[in-house]
């Protein structure tokens, strides 16, 4: 679709050189980029760097910041070794989330493929699968908590065979894995598993809409050629359509990973009795509320999250802009 237009456009060399412009025009351009860039750098990038600095300090958030002390890697040492061992369960939950959201993305891609067959009522299906995405997570959290998870009235408990379960608070592990470097096992708790369902509700529709647009723009003649060559439907998808939609696949992969890593809202909205943490809530809890005042520790958690994300961000951005410039 839009890719074709970009390819047909003149090469980048024909874009106007900055040096050919008058002084006045240069100034205007500078302001046009400068003001938003200033805001963005000061409010996003500088705080990110400062979090890195704070992660090497100890500070209680109450005394003036000049009293903050440089402590080297002690915060990192603490969160990775002694500090009430919250980091690894949270990291484990984030990893579970990545795997889960990839499964959901696959379902979303499957739904997009089915909807691309232009059956009757496609628009209705599409709007229905997508609508949870426009709801606030506060609303999603509440709806799932009351309608689905409630102990007396929840739908899940009606179809659950055994004793009624408090899906929001029950931390019984469904499975556990013992890692050699830890003296306690990590596992998936029931309340986190319940949360995964609520997240799937939002994620699948999101990916479906993204992928459907990709499928619509896919060159039909390639598909025809494949079926003339005797490919089955699955082979056509596997070998022709899926690889042909690489740009969308990259976007879906990045969205999935980033959403899983920075998950915060729905976890915070749903798990009232705490106990199920992800990195996002761990950072926030160490900085605000009851657990507040551990700025160094919170920032160290933040940096772990940042380092996990930044790899994917760089991969995506490089991928994206290299293609653009070529």
């Amino acid at each position: 679709m839009s890719t074709d237009i970009a390819e047909a456009a003149p090469p980048a060399g024909r874009r106007r050189r900055f040096s050919q412009l008058s002084r006045n025009d240069k100034l205007v351009l500078l302001v046009m980029v400068g003001v938003p860039a200033f805001l963005h750098i000061v409010l996003v990038w500088i705080p990110a760097i400062l979090t890195g600095v704070l992660s090497f300090m100890e500070w209680d958030n109450v005394t003036p910041i000049s009293s903050a002390e440089f402590v080297g890697f002690r915060n990192y040492w603490q969160i990775f070794t002694i500090f009430d061992n919250q980091l690894f369960p949270a990291l484990f939950n984030n990893m579970v989330l990545i795997v889960w959201l990839f499964l959901c993305s696959a379902v979303g891609i499957g739904l997009a493929y089915l909807l691309d067959k232009n059956l009757k009522g496609t628009r209705f299906y599409q709007s229905t699968y997508y609508f949870p995405v426009v709801l606030s997570v506060a609303v999603v959290g509440f709806i799932w908590k009351s309608v689905m998870f409630g102990r007396e009235t929840g739908l899940l408990n009606l179809i659950w065979p055994g004793e009624p379960i408090d899906f929001v608070g029950d931390q019984t592990k469904i499975f556990e894995i013992q890692f050699p470097f830890l003296d306690f096992p990590l596992g998936l708790s029931r309340n986190f598993a319940a949360l995964l369902l609520a997240m799937a509700w939002r994620h699948i529709g999101y990916i479906m809409v993204l992928y459907l647009a990709g499928l619509k723009s896919f060159d039909p003649s390639l598909r025809e050629a494949a079926s003339i060559d005797g490919c089955t439907e699955w082979q056509t998808f596997r070998r022709v359509v899926f690889p042909g939609l690489k740009p969308i696949n990259v976007v879906v992969a990045v969205i999935t990973v980033i959403e899983a890593l920075r998950a915060y809202d729905i976890v915070a909205a749903l798990s009232e009795p705490r106990g199920t943490e992800v990195m996002g809530t761990l950072v926030t809890n160490s900085l605000t509320g009851e657990g507040g005042g551990r700025v160094g520790i919170g920032s160290a958690y933040g940096m772990v999250l940042f380092l996990l994300c930044i790899g994917f961000i760089i991969w995506y951005v490089v991928n994206n802009f290299r293609e653009h410039e070529s």
């Binding site: 839009s2 970009a6 003149p10 024909r14 874009r15 106007r16 050189r17 900055f18 205007v28 351009l29 938003p36 860039a37 805001l39 963005h40 409010l43 996003v44 705080p47 990110a48 909807l115 059956l119 009757k120 009522g121 299906y125 229905t128 699968y129 997508y130 609508f131 949870p132 426009v134 606030s136 997570v137 506060a138 509440f142 709806i143 009351s146 309608v147 009606l158 999101y206 809409v209 647009a213 990709g214 039909p220 598909r223 740009p247 990045v254 920075r262 915060y264 809202d265 915070a268 909205a269 990195m279 926030t284 900085l287 999250l305 940042f306 994300c309 994917f312 995506y316 802009f321 653009h324």
Partner: protein, 294 residues
Amino acid sequence: MSTNEVGLSRGRKLTLAALLTFIAIVWIIPMAMALLSSFRYFEADTLKNGPFSWPETLTLDNYREAWRVGEIPRHFWNTMFITIPALVLILMLSSMVAYACSRYSWKFNVFFLVLFTAGNLMPQQVIFQPLFQIFKKTPWPDLLSDTNTGTLLGTKVGVILIHVAFQTGFCTFVLSNYMKTIPKELGEAAMVDGASVWRQYWQIILPLCRPAFAALATLEFTWLYNDFFWGNVLLQQGDQKPITSSISVLNGQYASDYNLIAAASMMIALPTLAVYLALQKQFISGLTLGANKG
């Protein structure tokens, strides 16, 4: 357009329709149940007869109560006071960056695009603490806000600023891709006629970007409206908080009355659902503009 549908037998079409309908029903159930509950009394009806029973009576009491106790109108205006200015600023600033970076080649244009795009993907929690301190140290006249701290912290302006800083990244990315598809000759012709950079932007490029603006505006509206993090951590006085926090307030006071909170949820969800249903086309093209890189 696609030939994907060719060769489907009637039986397979029916199976497929049945499967898709089943999934649609599963998708609607949580929302439909919440909607139904919001019209029922909790203790006298839902709890006694079970949530899947036929309702004894339908009532608007939950809505009245939630409207009053949750202070829905006040929080709704708080949200609007943040969402609308932020939306306008985001579209304005990001279109300027996108214009400068996509229509002219100069040393750092790719650098800025990368900076904005990467910044948008950053987890909010990572920047929260230093941002809090920066806002606390930034003087801001109380005249321009309804707090009395003399700083940006706790003001709606602060929330607007961080939304603008964050979301400009996404919109710049989308708009610059869109602007690249506008033929260069348009700008060149205007240049020959003596139009300045600003005039080309304002009178030629912006009007052509209307579809992209419409798409981004609907998308960003729901994102800003639904924001749960910034409004809650940066605005500290209860009456300043955005509408998404109303649920937590009600949850604290009426934790056991699910139907009351369901009514509040429905009221909170209504604006974004209305925008989505009315402007579905813009909505979806906004998402796909971002993904379907031009």
